[in-house]
Symmetry: C2
Protein backbone atom coordinates (compact mmCIF):
# COMPACT_ATOMS: atom_id res chain seq x y z
CA UNK A 1 0.00 0.00 0.00
CA UNK A 2 1.21 3.50 -0.81
CA UNK A 3 2.18 5.31 2.37
CA UNK A 4 1.89 9.05 2.89
CA UNK A 5 3.85 11.34 5.20
CA UNK A 6 1.31 11.29 8.04
CA UNK A 7 4.10 11.95 10.55
CA UNK A 8 4.53 15.45 9.14
CA UNK A 9 1.47 16.66 11.04
CA UNK A 10 1.31 16.50 14.86
CA UNK A 11 -2.23 15.08 14.66
CA UNK A 12 -1.34 12.72 11.80
CA UNK A 13 -3.79 14.46 9.46
CA UNK A 14 -3.22 15.35 5.83
CA UNK A 15 -5.51 17.32 3.50
CA UNK A 16 -7.43 15.51 0.78
CA UNK A 17 -8.70 17.68 -2.06
CA UNK A 18 -11.85 16.24 -3.59
CA UNK A 19 -12.39 16.84 -7.27
CA UNK A 20 -15.21 15.78 -9.59
CA UNK A 21 -13.62 13.17 -11.83
CA UNK A 22 -15.68 14.30 -14.80
CA UNK A 23 -15.70 18.10 -14.68
CA UNK A 24 -12.57 18.79 -12.64
CA UNK A 25 -14.55 21.02 -10.25
CA UNK A 26 -13.13 21.13 -6.73
CA UNK A 27 -15.91 19.78 -4.51
CA UNK A 28 -14.49 19.97 -0.99
CA UNK A 29 -11.44 19.56 1.19
CA UNK A 30 -11.31 17.14 4.10
CA UNK A 31 -8.63 15.51 6.23
CA UNK A 32 -7.36 11.95 6.26
CA UNK A 33 -5.39 9.98 8.81
CA UNK A 34 -3.73 6.65 8.16
CA UNK A 35 -6.89 4.70 8.99
CA UNK A 36 -9.13 6.68 6.65
CA UNK A 37 -6.51 6.44 3.89
CA UNK A 38 -6.42 2.65 4.27
CA UNK A 39 -10.22 2.42 4.31
CA UNK A 40 -10.45 4.55 1.16
CA UNK A 41 -7.94 2.36 -0.68
CA UNK A 42 -9.62 -0.85 0.49
CA UNK A 43 -13.23 0.12 -0.23
CA UNK A 44 -13.01 2.64 -3.10
CA UNK A 45 -15.25 4.95 -1.07
CA UNK A 46 -13.84 8.18 0.36
CA UNK A 47 -13.22 8.02 4.10
CA UNK A 48 -11.99 10.99 6.11
CA UNK A 49 -11.23 11.93 9.69
CA UNK A 50 -13.89 14.19 11.14
CA UNK A 51 -12.07 16.84 13.16
CA UNK A 52 -15.32 18.04 14.79
CA UNK A 53 -16.50 14.55 15.81
CA UNK A 54 -12.98 13.09 16.22
CA UNK A 55 -13.88 9.88 14.42
CA UNK A 56 -13.54 8.00 11.16
CA UNK A 57 -16.01 9.41 8.66
CA UNK A 58 -17.37 7.59 5.64
CA UNK A 59 -18.54 10.52 3.53
CA UNK A 60 -22.25 9.98 2.87
CA UNK A 61 -22.79 7.72 5.88
CA UNK A 62 -25.88 9.70 6.95
CA UNK A 63 -27.11 11.00 3.56
CA UNK A 64 -26.22 7.93 1.48
CA UNK A 65 -24.34 10.23 -0.88
CA UNK A 66 -20.99 8.49 -0.87
CA UNK A 67 -18.01 9.39 -3.04
CA UNK A 68 -16.77 6.66 -5.39
CA UNK A 69 -13.05 7.17 -5.83
CA UNK A 70 -12.04 6.87 -9.47
CA UNK A 71 -8.45 8.07 -9.19
CA UNK A 72 -6.07 9.30 -6.53
CA UNK A 73 -3.24 11.75 -7.18
CA UNK A 74 -0.35 12.20 -4.73
CA UNK A 75 1.75 15.35 -4.49
CA UNK A 76 5.52 15.76 -4.65
CA UNK A 77 5.92 15.80 -0.84
CA UNK A 78 3.52 12.90 -0.26
CA UNK A 79 1.59 15.01 2.23
CA UNK A 80 -1.49 15.94 0.17
CA UNK A 81 -3.77 13.91 -2.11
CA UNK A 82 -6.47 14.55 -4.68
CA UNK A 83 -9.43 12.18 -4.67
CA UNK A 84 -11.11 12.25 -8.08
CA UNK A 85 -14.61 11.04 -7.34
CA UNK A 86 -18.09 10.35 -8.60
CA UNK A 87 -20.28 12.14 -6.08
CA UNK A 88 -23.46 10.10 -5.58
CA UNK A 89 -26.48 12.42 -5.26
CA UNK A 90 -24.65 15.20 -7.09
CA UNK A 91 -23.82 17.33 -4.05
CA UNK A 92 -20.72 17.20 -1.84
CA UNK A 93 -21.64 20.11 0.44
CA UNK A 94 -23.72 19.67 3.57
CA UNK A 95 -25.46 22.90 2.58
CA UNK A 96 -26.87 21.18 -0.49
CA UNK A 97 -24.58 22.62 -3.15
CA UNK A 98 -22.65 20.49 -5.64
CA UNK A 99 -19.41 21.95 -4.28
CA UNK A 100 -18.52 23.43 -0.91
CA UNK A 101 -16.86 26.19 -2.95
CA UNK A 102 -20.15 27.72 -4.10
CA UNK A 103 -19.10 31.33 -3.53
CA UNK A 104 -16.56 33.51 -5.24
CA UNK A 105 -14.84 36.65 -4.02
CA UNK A 106 -16.10 39.78 -5.76
CA UNK A 107 -14.39 42.76 -4.17
CA UNK A 108 -15.64 42.87 -0.58
CA UNK A 109 -18.52 40.49 -1.29
CA UNK A 110 -19.03 36.77 -1.62
CA UNK A 111 -21.25 35.96 -4.59
CA UNK A 112 -23.12 32.64 -4.60
CA UNK A 113 -22.69 30.51 -7.73
CA UNK A 114 -25.51 28.23 -8.81
CA UNK A 115 -28.28 26.75 -6.72
CA UNK A 116 -28.47 23.96 -4.13
CA UNK A 117 -28.99 20.42 -5.45
CA UNK A 118 -30.87 19.34 -2.32
CA UNK A 119 -32.53 20.81 0.76
CA UNK A 120 -30.29 20.06 3.76
CA UNK A 121 -33.31 20.03 6.12
CA UNK A 122 -34.81 17.14 4.16
CA UNK A 123 -31.60 15.11 3.99
CA UNK A 124 -30.21 15.63 7.48
CA UNK A 125 -33.40 16.63 9.32
CA UNK A 126 -34.05 20.08 10.78
CA UNK A 127 -31.71 21.25 13.49
CA UNK B 1 -12.17 42.73 2.71
CA UNK B 2 -13.55 39.22 2.96
CA UNK B 3 -12.38 37.61 6.19
CA UNK B 4 -11.78 33.91 6.64
CA UNK B 5 -11.94 31.78 9.79
CA UNK B 6 -8.21 31.95 10.55
CA UNK B 7 -8.92 31.50 14.26
CA UNK B 8 -10.04 27.93 13.59
CA UNK B 9 -6.43 26.78 13.35
CA UNK B 10 -4.03 27.16 16.31
CA UNK B 11 -1.34 28.49 13.95
CA UNK B 12 -3.80 30.70 12.05
CA UNK B 13 -3.21 28.78 8.82
CA UNK B 14 -5.81 27.68 6.30
CA UNK B 15 -5.33 25.54 3.18
CA UNK B 16 -5.44 27.15 -0.25
CA UNK B 17 -6.07 24.80 -3.15
CA UNK B 18 -4.49 26.10 -6.33
CA UNK B 19 -6.24 25.27 -9.57
CA UNK B 20 -5.39 26.15 -13.16
CA UNK B 21 -8.05 28.66 -14.17
CA UNK B 22 -8.14 27.32 -17.71
CA UNK B 23 -7.98 23.53 -17.41
CA UNK B 24 -9.26 23.03 -13.86
CA UNK B 25 -6.21 20.90 -13.01
CA UNK B 26 -5.24 21.02 -9.34
CA UNK B 27 -1.71 22.44 -9.29
CA UNK B 28 -0.75 22.47 -5.61
CA UNK B 29 -1.90 23.07 -2.07
CA UNK B 30 -0.32 25.65 0.20
CA UNK B 31 -1.22 27.45 3.41
CA UNK B 32 -2.29 31.02 3.98
CA UNK B 33 -2.39 33.17 7.09
CA UNK B 34 -4.18 36.49 7.36
CA UNK B 35 -1.18 38.43 6.04
CA UNK B 36 -0.74 36.27 2.93
CA UNK B 37 -4.50 36.40 2.28
CA UNK B 38 -4.41 40.21 2.43
CA UNK B 39 -1.35 40.37 0.17
CA UNK B 40 -3.00 38.06 -2.36
CA UNK B 41 -6.16 40.20 -2.47
CA UNK B 42 -4.17 43.43 -2.72
CA UNK B 43 -1.69 42.36 -5.39
CA UNK B 44 -3.53 39.68 -7.40
CA UNK B 45 -0.48 37.44 -7.00
CA UNK B 46 -0.69 34.33 -4.82
CA UNK B 47 1.04 34.72 -1.46
CA UNK B 48 1.32 31.88 1.06
CA UNK B 49 2.85 31.17 4.42
CA UNK B 50 5.90 28.94 4.12
CA UNK B 51 5.70 26.44 6.97
CA UNK B 52 9.29 25.29 6.41
CA UNK B 53 10.78 28.80 6.32
CA UNK B 54 8.18 30.35 8.66
CA UNK B 55 7.75 33.43 6.50
CA UNK B 56 5.51 35.13 4.00
CA UNK B 57 6.03 33.54 0.60
CA UNK B 58 5.28 35.16 -2.73
CA UNK B 59 5.01 32.08 -4.95
CA UNK B 60 7.59 32.53 -7.73
CA UNK B 61 9.78 34.93 -5.77
CA UNK B 62 12.92 32.94 -6.63
CA UNK B 63 11.92 31.44 -10.01
CA UNK B 64 9.91 34.40 -11.33
CA UNK B 65 7.04 32.02 -11.96
CA UNK B 66 4.32 33.82 -10.05
CA UNK B 67 0.65 32.86 -9.97
CA UNK B 68 -1.79 35.46 -11.26
CA UNK B 69 -5.03 34.99 -9.36
CA UNK B 70 -8.03 35.11 -11.70
CA UNK B 71 -10.72 34.00 -9.25
CA UNK B 72 -11.01 32.97 -5.63
CA UNK B 73 -13.63 30.55 -4.32
CA UNK B 74 -14.47 30.28 -0.61
CA UNK B 75 -15.95 27.18 1.01
CA UNK B 76 -19.08 26.83 3.16
CA UNK B 77 -17.12 27.01 6.45
CA UNK B 78 -14.90 29.90 5.32
CA UNK B 79 -11.82 27.91 6.28
CA UNK B 80 -10.57 26.81 2.83
CA UNK B 81 -10.13 28.65 -0.45
CA UNK B 82 -9.49 27.83 -4.09
CA UNK B 83 -7.16 30.14 -5.99
CA UNK B 84 -7.84 29.83 -9.72
CA UNK B 85 -4.62 31.03 -11.28
CA UNK B 86 -2.59 31.58 -14.39
CA UNK B 87 0.71 29.90 -13.58
CA UNK B 88 3.52 31.90 -15.20
CA UNK B 89 6.18 29.56 -16.60
CA UNK B 90 3.68 26.71 -16.84
CA UNK B 91 4.87 24.76 -13.79
CA UNK B 92 3.71 25.06 -10.18
CA UNK B 93 5.85 22.27 -8.74
CA UNK B 94 9.38 22.85 -7.50
CA UNK B 95 10.26 19.53 -9.14
CA UNK B 96 9.52 21.06 -12.55
CA UNK B 97 6.11 19.52 -13.22
CA UNK B 98 3.04 21.54 -14.19
CA UNK B 99 1.28 20.21 -11.08
CA UNK B 100 2.59 18.94 -7.76
CA UNK B 101 0.09 16.11 -8.26
CA UNK B 102 2.07 14.46 -11.05
CA UNK B 103 1.65 10.91 -9.77
CA UNK B 104 -1.37 8.68 -9.51
CA UNK B 105 -1.97 5.65 -7.32
CA UNK B 106 -1.94 2.40 -9.29
CA UNK B 107 -2.31 -0.45 -6.83
CA UNK B 108 0.84 -0.38 -4.70
CA UNK B 109 2.69 1.90 -7.11
CA UNK B 110 2.83 5.59 -7.89
CA UNK B 111 2.82 6.19 -11.64
CA UNK B 112 4.25 9.46 -12.95
CA UNK B 113 2.01 11.42 -15.32
CA UNK B 114 3.58 13.60 -18.00
CA UNK B 115 7.03 15.13 -18.05
CA UNK B 116 8.67 18.05 -16.24
CA UNK B 117 8.25 21.49 -17.82
CA UNK B 118 11.60 22.72 -16.49
CA UNK B 119 14.80 21.36 -14.94
CA UNK B 120 14.78 22.34 -11.23
CA UNK B 121 18.60 22.42 -11.16
CA UNK B 122 18.60 25.17 -13.79
CA UNK B 123 15.89 27.26 -12.12
CA UNK B 124 16.87 26.95 -8.46
CA UNK B 125 20.55 25.96 -8.81
CA UNK B 126 22.01 22.58 -7.85
CA UNK B 127 21.77 21.58 -4.24
Amino acid sequence: MIDLDFDKDPAGLLPAIVQDHGTGAVLMLAYINRESWQKTLETGKAHYWSRSRQQLWLKGESSGNVQLVKDILVDCDQDTVVFQVEQIGGAACHKGYASCFFRRVDGDDLVTLGKPVFDPDKVYGKK
